[in-house]
Symmetry: C3
């Protein structure tokens, strides 16, 4: 939970982020808040569905698109910008800064004598830094976190509480890994031999770029022979599975509970909805958007929005639809009989009915 700072004049914020200001530049805001917040706070409008809340807001200031300026009450300072959400994110980060690392190693932490920990880094209680591991400048290693042998954490990165980064994995600068993340566990490599499975050693590592954020309890397996790769600027939500040898392109964002099977490659700037799944060995191109719960069972190359979500119905309706679906062969046969009897069947329909 971020800290707070003294109130800031909205004029200063407008200048800093290139907003057109409508209102008193000396007005000060102390906190980020929703549209229902108070006079000492600043909010934003990005979703037009909230226009009614804007009209009745008592906020001290609102960041909003120029087109909505007229809907902002006169008592509220308006900071006009074409991307209010991004400006709000930056303003909120200034008003509620993340506490800086407290340099030093907690007395209960266990740091191997062959590990390198920057003097400006913070290592928390019960953390473990193994031989050859490198902790960069101003990093924070949270309580109960582990950085395995030979692993590396770039400058200004943070392992939250109870993150486990295993041997040899490398994490870039300015990354944030939330509690329970596991980086570098063995991939699921098994060779069948008779009825039993032989474990296939997982010899690769995980390479994570700069500015990556990874959500709680997400798992990223090490590669089998080559590495699993998460590129710069990727955002992963909670409880995601990234299997061995997966690669994820820069600035792709993936919502919670997505499963990505082995050796699948996802491009840059993709957006993946929660609960979606990817079969293994696929290639998904750049700028592809996958809806929530979609099942990606083949490669996709054309940018665009893809889905296979099946919306809920009341149980009686759903059962009837399922029944119809499972009798589609019979329905097709009935149509074919009608076509034969009425002689309306056109030629060239071979692929329509079998």
């Amino acid at each position: 939970m971020p800290d707070s700072v003294p109130p800031l004049p909205v004029g200063e914020l407008a200048v800093r982020f290139g907003c057109v200001l409508r209102g008193d530049p000396q007005r000060r805001v102390a906190a980020a808040a929703p549209l229902a917040g108070g006079a000492d706070s600043i909010g934003f409008l990005a979703n037009p569905a909230l226009l009614e809340s804007l009209r009745t807001t008592r906020l001290g200031a609102v960041i909003l698109p120029p087109a909505q300026a007229a809907d902002c009450p006169a008592a509220t300072a308006a900071l006009l910008h074409p991307n209010p959400h991004a400006v709000f994110a930056r303003v909120a980060a200034i008003l509620h800064p993340v506490a800086p690392p407290q340099p030093g190693i907690h007395p209960t932490a266990c740091v191997h004598e062959q590990a390198q920990v920057a003097a400006s880094a913070e290592v928390g209680p019960f953390a473990l830094i193994e031989a050859g591991a490198v902790v960069g400048a101003r990093c924070r290693v949270g309580a109960h976190a582990t950085l395995g042998a030979g692993a590396a954490l770039g400058a200004d990165s943070r392992l939250a509480e109870r993150v486990t980064v295993l041997a040899g994995c490398r994490i870039g600068a300015r990354c944030l890994l939330h509690p329970g993340v596991v980086v570098g566990a063995d991939g699921f490599g098994n060779a069948r031999d008779g009825v039993a499975w032989v474990k296939v050693p997982q010899l690769g590592t995980v390479r994570i770029g700069d500015d990556v954020e990874i959500g709680a309890n997400t798992t990223i397996d090490r590669g089998a022979l080559e590495d699993t790769v998460i590129s710069d600027g990727v955002r992963l939500d909670n409880l995601i599975q990234v299997a061995h040898n997966v690669t994820i392109g820069a600035h792709t964002a993936i919502a919670a509970c997505v499963a990505i099977a082995g050796s699948t490659h996802i491009g840059q700037r993709c957006m993946i909805g929660g609960g979606a799944g990817f079969s293994g060995q696929l290639t998904v191109g750049d700028d592809i958007v996958i809806g929530g719960f979609a099942q990606v069972t083949h490669s996709l190359t054309t940018p665009g929005f893809y889905s296979s979500a099946m919306p809920v119905e009341q149980m009686g309706t759903w059962r009837r639809l399922l029944g119809r679906f499972k009798r589609l062969d019979a329905l097709n046969a009935r149509v074919r009989r009608l076509e034969a009897a009425t002689k309306v069947r056109e030629t060239g329909q071979e692929d329509d009915d079998d």
Copy 2:
């Protein structure tokens, strides 16, 4: 794993839980068991499918509905009650009580001098209690658990091993959080700015009511501006994702591997099957039952049972059905041609075929 107690007379149990007893009130039972258990144990019948097992049981006592009394062997004491499962749950809790907390702080635990830990509470090995955190009376904080700065744990609650509760989150009384739970990690808030993502600070917390149970490795994110809220009596199973600003109403039960996207509101007394998913920004009313694997992509207000699960088929059958499904446009066109040729098409069907 709960402890055990001396055997109890079934007459005492019948009185305590309002059952009609058929059999010797002095008969004693020492353990809870399935219908296949022994003469020193007590079981229950709630599922009529197990009637045959009831008829051949050798248990010392069975809790069952009055209507099934005749099927209980004479050698087995019958405790008749309209809700055998709930009575059994309470009897089992008496016969196998959870060990009480052992007041005190383990010497390896790390408790901040500005934290408040009740004298009757137990803090386990390697646990971390940060500044300003409050641990209520008779709480148990398990090994490797963390209670973050300013967080609060109500009386008689238990954080199992390796639970992480982050700064400012509040948990009510009599709660039980299983290993690996993460409460209060940052929600997935990202604003797009060009190709890159700007992190949106997550300034809310998580508020959890009384009598809540949360399963292993489940994650509950802190709110973006307001709080994520889990109401009294909610039951969450394992590996569930509760995104930022979700609210869950009292006494709702959610089975494992459910994903709930941001700002979705689920009502009271709902039951959600395993593997189901909810899109963001939805409202699901009270008393709604969602089947396993269902995909809730729109709001639901009418109480009832909803589903969209797609049952497995043998691969050949499934491929043929999928093929038919993907050619539904063509089938519709064929029916339309038949209607045109035979002039049976009725008026007012415009929305049936395009």
Copy 3:
């Protein structure tokens, strides 16, 4: 990340694993590698799609099926075997051996005086071994791992970092549990009583056989009255939920993010694709293969391949298909009217259209 050993002659490997060798038996390899690897390494070919990579490989040796021998460059030693993947797995394990346990208890670990830890076992930093727990010969208990009261870990097994095995659970020999695994948390047992839920004590344990591997952050709940059972040789990937009283037969392999609801029984030698789900109280026989994302809502007895995955489509296409699907009742009614008008309807079709 495994260690390395001195280079080995391919002749020795061929003799040891029963391969026919084509090439110089004195040639030495030091590492396992993909087909794109270098002259000091050994790879394999199992997937015919990689034949082109084989033809241009510069590897020192390749393990491959006899039928592909002619496609292996003359400069590369060929080890011919009908099961190249399994042989490769064993060769890789020799070239990159897992570091043996370093016998002893780390000074920061917490081992109860009534626990039994074999002298040859390794107990890592911040590990917790509770009263009555047994750690077998040559086991490794990783950092931040917990072995609960009365729990047992068979010889040569390994709990990776941050594994939690709760009271009374038993794990066989040569098992490997990856970080974040939780074994023996309470099953999801709740009895409804009015609007509230009564917790049903979970009195069983978890029994895990020999040679079992369990992926990161997977959860296996203890049984309600009897035990949850994972048989010998089972392979579980990451983020899997195994509910109370589930049993999984020997040598079954389950990919990531699978949810198995309570009391479901899965047979031997099954293969379950990622993201699949199983309803509770089902029986799935031996030798059954379930495709990724399939929803198993009824029992299956016949060996074979089952699926219900719904492949993604472009959003416009998907919406149109969904619309057709949801109007299948209307389409059926239209076909019925056509049949009535044209008198082509055959008798005995009652179950086709309602």
